[in-house]
Symmetry: D3
Subunit: 135 residues, 6 copies
């Protein structure tokens, strides 16, 4: 299922092709996954999204594996099956062990449970957790 | 706002008090936050939840800071303000730097954006990301 | 916080007043809660929503208490604090005991946890659970 | 997958058939999509839902295309794949161009991103955005 | 689709097998559904989750049918297709009639609608619904 | 509540100040709302987010009012109270009438209701709504 046709390489506009070239160069792989092939109908959003992904998921204070695990956690909470599959694969490719994956899932489940308990009970935030928004 | 009264120490049942004692011992702190005071009306759920939290958030393959950051990410996606405040405080207490926090937030936002783009486009999962569920 | 002013009785249009009259008659109470006072700016949606609520929450196969408990469960999952407060109050008014409330919360939390585990693992639906959509 | 059998025309109750007749008349088409065929097991909810859809999506202050685009946006945020497919098709049928569709998706993604950033940061609402709920 | 292989009986670790034995004994059935076969990669989470399910869904103040219906309601709100299918089947097995199922769905839909109306309008909680969190 | 201090103008880094200057210039207003003051701790995300907002919400195929209304719809579905308040204010500033606002809310509520009905029933997508993802 999809709401647009996935574009093959020879159906890309020049603008979309330039982004695909960069994806291939940065990832050192010829494989371009379906997300980008769906997004390629709109080269402007394609480029902005790819640039943001490079920025956000590139080198920084957190290591690449942790970044992908955070991406998986959010994707589960949002119920995006595609994203779960692609970022779980990416996390494994970046070194996530099965033990770490098990703990990730357990934390996501646990957080979901306590998130809902807290919300159902309407628990007020403790003074101790507050940061003064203004002086 | 709350749907139950938060129980003070002298309003606890014996069963709830035993859990509070364990919380204080494990955390090496006298402070017991409001979540447990709301949950204390139901000692069975209080005990089960606390035992699960100890299991899931205790020593394992992932370090404590990463565990708390995953908890924060899920809590943001579920919109639980209390949980966001308590686990952001916990992540900081376990060493999360402001640079790491900034990256965490950026990843949560980025994942939310691509989760919705993918869902809107109905992108089919690439063969490359599939794990055979059965042989 | 609100995005519209809550209308007091003497600010209602004739159409909105007629709905308020029916709310008071059906509920046998003079109290009209804030939801209807916010919705009263749009008498058409006010009337349609009130009529639907009467239909859905009125006498049927499920008893009124169970209906309110289902309403609370969904409201927690959607993170609607107002709805949680109003329908928890309604469930209590219709006989929900604190023991039942504790179990409701425990189920909502448990479902949240397994929902996310299942989604994270991408578990395929068992044959045994399928209903043939078409012959 | 489905939790009920989809009803074909000759399996409808008289009440459900009457609603199907109205759907066909209003839409000037013989095609009745699967949603209504699943809902037809419960003629009361079928009728109420169809009447509400006619009310909400019928002529008003907003044009039909904009209404469908809002429906798509909400359906993406709720992760309802069926609804995304049916209302994206409806929006296109009512004149949504591919350029407009691209912007719709970009806005949904952008909103998702900033929604989560704001929630994660716990940003307090500015005075300037508040409407006084009461005088 | 799945992110792990579903384990067959002869692929289970000793720890996982012990949980499967208990599932079969408690349910008085040889059938073990896919959720547990996916979770079996992590015997610790498998055991904790199964023990929690037994606790939460076992005998209590609410009858088994009502418990399953609450589980279905939450699973719909979280968009977990697997969970919807498995718990709808369980609710039917525990006596949920089609009339009750119709009302459950109508309530979930109605709650979703008013949850979003309330959230959009930012309705403040009425004094009458508040429980004093602290004295 | 907030997890970071909101930065006043004289607490901004040079990088953050440059973004604030651009916000003020583009919006032709001295007012910079709290979202940007919270985000200002991370000038990189501040700049990327502001640039994306300008791109996505700037002139295009859809008019500014419709864009803001889509933003409001998504923010309601995600339960972001701050975003609802800020973008409802923006939509009104760009010409949204109260009649249009009433219809927006009604559509969001209606979509939420049918989204959940469809999800609960597990309705399969009609052939007629499918776009071939690949030739």
């Amino acid at each position: 299922m999809a709401t647009v046709k996935l574009l093959s390489d020879d159906e890309l506009s020049a603008d979309a092709r330039a982004v695909f070239d960069d994806i291939r160069m940065v990832r050192k792989s010829d494989f371009v996954n379906n997300f980008w092939r769906a997004l390629a109908h709109d080269p402007k959003t394609l480029r902005r999204t790819w640039n943001s992904i490079k920025d956000v998921m590139g080198p920084g204070a957190l290591d690449p594996k942790t970044k992908e695990m955070l991406y998986v956690a959010v994707s589960i909470a949002h119920g995006c099956s595609y994203c779960i599959h692609s970022h779980t694969a990416a996390a494994r490719a970046k070194g996530m062990t099965e033990a770490e994956y098990g703990e990730l899932l357990a934390i996501v489940g646990m957080a979901a449970e306590t998130n809902r308990l807290v919300t159902g009970l309407g628990v007020p935030v403790d003074e101790a957790f507050l940061v003064d928004a203004v002086d």
